[in-house]
Symmetry: C2
Subunit: 548 residues, 2 copies
């Protein structure tokens, strides 16, 4: 709670996948646990039709063949409703305690989770461990901290006295109870199922709401393990495990739309496409809807005092997890006249060529490149890369190439595609092109670049903006635009912190201002909408006793 108020660096769970931290046996035990799940039915004792579903494929190649119980929605919704009152009555502290125990047990399984995240999202192992494990768990803790802190603002009781007439004082005892808004639906995404899902799951739970967790049909296992652990802790703590249930669907019979319009669903959290996010915002008026959607993240280059640091930092940002982060930049605006640097003036063509060279350098070693790039999660992204590359023709600055991984010969790995465009060609770069697709955009000058980004932020939105400028007046104009459009701005990154990264307890992820999201992970609004306060009051009788 103190960390989110001060927003300094803070970590509850160690991010290093190291034996020294997690124990000598942890890596092997995690791998065994993951492998033990392959080719088997995943067991969850929740309402089911008796059928089994599951269609996950590892982008790294290995067979998964895990099946999950087909959900029986009516029975699940009824079970969640029955579970609610005891969870509500437990109060904020007890709920926070149970949530923290769930998170601690998830942390103990971080190696197993890393394999689960790696083989569903396609991330490299180290990233899958960090983003899927401790970083996601910290985001969960952050939500619990907000929830507890806000709920504690409401006193459980108050004694209220006032004069209601001459010489007459009336004294009342008042009680205030936190009640949950209602059944939550968390719709998971295909790239960061735990990192994007935990804030919602734990904000719902910590404020008293039962939750249905509906993973992406191709990325189920990380959230299935999460649900299994949550149910185990809830049961041990004497609560109904129906407070957290897993709804697995298939691409052929998706259930998010079916659930979203049910009157019992009162909270919906969604990370994914703009089309479905907008649909939810318009078609589920019975629920409070929190969305993180697509956006067009941009970079503005004006000047730098560390040209090589800037290029290396940017090359890494464009390559990491093959641009499949919602925070990855897509459009790098460079003034036609070039940029001032510590190595002299660099023209547009030179900056573009140097950026390509920096990417090539970063990815020179195939094993390291595979770890940075990870795999292409969705085959549709391969088609998108090919389409953009073909359409770009002579504007291709760097073609996307397959990369053979020494350990995973069937892995879908592609290096980044880099394309040149002019700022007037917004039809080419003005939409989110998810995946390792970047544009180096030639702007008339820095103010043209600012105006283009401003327009993109207003119409498409974005989660991040990166700017390089040593000129204070230029940076001030960029800051003013970023503030007006509500985008998180990173300035002059040249070291080991990347624009893609958002640190729990310190960085607000998304703002709710521009079209890329209608909420923030995590702020007061993200949590306070999930519960209400119901009061009762009665006159104090002699001795202050209540009326009942």
């Amino acid at each position: 709670m103190e960390a989110v108020r001060r927003r300094v660096h803070h970590a509850v769970f160690p991010e290093s996948p190291s034996r020294r931290v997690y124990g000598e046996e942890a890596p092997a035990a995690g791998q065994r646990a993951f492998e033990g799940r392959l080719g088997r039915p995943f067991e969850l004792d929740q309402p089911t039709t008796g059928g089994r579903v599951g269609a996950e494929e590892s982008p790294w190649g290995p067979e998964l063949a895990i099946t999950y119980p087909e959900p029986e929605l009516d029975a699940m919704i009824a079970a969640a409703a029955r579970a609610l009152p005891a969870w509500r009555d437990a109060g904020p502290e007890a709920r926070a305690g149970v949530c923290m125990e769930i998170l601690a047990r998830l942390n103990a399984r971080s190696f197993e989770m890393a394999h689960a995240v790696m083989h569903t999202t396609g991330q490299g192992f180290a990233m899958a461990f960090q983003a899927g494990g401790p970083h996601a768990q910290d985001r969960g803790v952050e939500a619990v901290a907000y929830a507890l802190d806000l709920q504690r603002r409401v006193p459980r009781r108050a004694v209220w006295s006032r004069a209601t007439g001459r010489d007459r004082i009336e004294t009342f005892e008042k009680e205030y109870v936190i009640v949950p808004h209602g059944l939550g639906l968390v719709v998971g995404c295909s790239t960061f199922p735990t990192w994007n899902g935990y804030p919602s799951l734990f904000a719902d739970l910590a404020t008293g709401n039962p939750v249905l967790v509906k993973p992406h049909p191709r990325v189920i296992l990380p959230l299935a393990i999460t649900v299994q652990v949550a149910r185990e802790v809830l049961r041990e703590a004497g609560f109904d495990p129906a407070l957290v249930q897993l709804v697995v669907d298939t691409p052929e019979r998706p259930l998010a739309k079916v659930l979203a319009v049910r009157p019992e669903i009162r909270l919906i959290d969604f990370t994914g496409s703009t089309a479905f996010g907008d649909w939810l915002e318009r078609n589920a008026p019975q629920a409070r809807v929190f969305t993180e959607k697509a956006g067009v993240n941009c970079v503005i280059l004006h000047s730098t005092d560390d040209y090589r640091g800037m290029l290396a930092n940017l090359a890494f940002s464009l390559s990491l997890y093959s641009g499949q982060m919602c925070t990855t930049p897509q459009n790098v605006f460079v003034p036609a006249g070039g940029i001032d640097t510590d190595r002299g003036r660099k023209g547009f063509e030179e900056v573009a060529a140097d950026l390509v060279a920096a990417i090539d350098r970063l990815l020179a070693d195939p094993a390291r490149a595979g770890e940075i790039l990870g795999c292409i999660q969705n085959p549709a992204t391969l088609e998108r890369i090919a389409r953009v590359e073909e359409a770009a023709g002579a504007d291709v600055l760097r073609p996307s190439t397959p990369l053979e991984h020494p350990k995973f010969p069937r892995a879908r790995i592609r290096t980044p595609l880099v394309v040149r465009a002019r700022s007037g060609e917004m039809d080419r770069y003005g939409e989110e092109l998810f995946g390792p697709i970047s544009f180096v955009v030639e702007a008339d000058d820095v103010d043209d670049a600012i105006a283009r980004v401003d327009h993109l932020l207003a119409t498409r939105g974005a989660l991040t903006l990166l700017a390089h400028a040593t000129d204070a007046a230029v940076m001030a104009r960029i800051e003013a635009m970023a503030l007006a459009r509500g985008v998180a701005l990173s300035e002059n990154l040249t070291g080991g912190v990347y624009v893609n990264q958002s640190a729990a307890f310190s960085d607000y992820h998304a703002t709710g201002v521009n079209p890329a999201a209608n909420a923030t992970l995590v702020d007061e609004d993200f949590v306070a909408s999930r519960y209400h306060i119901v009061q009762r009051r009665r006159p104090c009788r002699e001795g202050g006793g209540g009326g009942s």
Copy 2:
């Protein structure tokens, strides 16, 4: 801020319309100020077509004939957008200071406001003074306190350091800026325009949002004065008065729907009918919508140790402002077998008759009765009373009668209609029948009463529930039902505090749980949805200086 955390009795502005408090000259000056507005154009230097509109009529009789500038919506919206950045950049403390100055100046005009509220809503003078003046102002202060307290949770800056590699520490300076969600629309109601409007207006303003205030077309003056004062203070403080603008419409050309769907409108606050509230919740997905709608407030009588106190308290609640409060009870459930009291067992018929007698006693003196009842605000309510009375036939326990006020011979004053019903006849009492219309409902027993109220809360919602029971087990069942349905429960009221009353800083008005409202006046959710946090971060260079 401390008061809302402790929720004890607190008042910023004195509620007594007394010369000792407000000064010897205040009553006469307030009356002169009000009378000086009659028959004149109300001046506001905001964008207008040049036309004049206004259709207010005093339910007490006097001619008002005030006209207001016809709004030019496009120009107003553009002016609000221009005013936003400086107000945002002023920060939470400056905004809170300006809001408090507006409220202090409104307080100084409480006598003028009392006449304005009285002659538009039809309230008696004392109530118009209290509810329209200091109580409403205190609700405004409450919203400002919440807004400042929550915004202060976000630090303006943080220094963030972490290891990003072996022996490498990266240190960042981060800045966090509160940005408003966007242009607000406050749709005023016809009964408590300031009390219901101030929390929204000041929550919007204090979190940085410009506001369009659209009063009910028959109850304009109280909010027009409010807007005039707000603009005067804003201008003096160096801000653009376009931050608060008045949109007056007419019953023939209503503007709430027109404005609500405009993309520029990002916040909507509405108090009024369920039909329009539901419409807003479904048709303005671009905005955050806060609604307080209709509900069916109930009373459950089971037992009491102060029969006369109970009857007197309930008679007052049913009579006050002729049942035109959103918190007035409508249905009084009494078990067929009667209730236990300190005066022995009282049968159903006896309780019903004694309640009618208590109302008659309360209203015996016409001058005092007129002050308690006030006028019927809307002529449609007169038709509703007549319709219900005619349909009730032999079930009329107490007919509604006109009351001649010694000072206001043309005033629309009616005494309460009381009708008998059986709990199975939910088609008779199961909808809100706004105005002085009450049912004494014969229930099979207390559990039948609880079940009926439970059903009404689930399907129609309510803001209040009053229960009388000396039996702890019975009260516990009522409490459990009230909690599950999210309604504020008042227990065993027999003195000078009434179920209709909701005290600023202590009582939460509405819960957002049941269908009567989707928000609470005032809680964290009511305020936190109105702003966002936008950050920027940059590496600290030598000496900790920023990158720009």
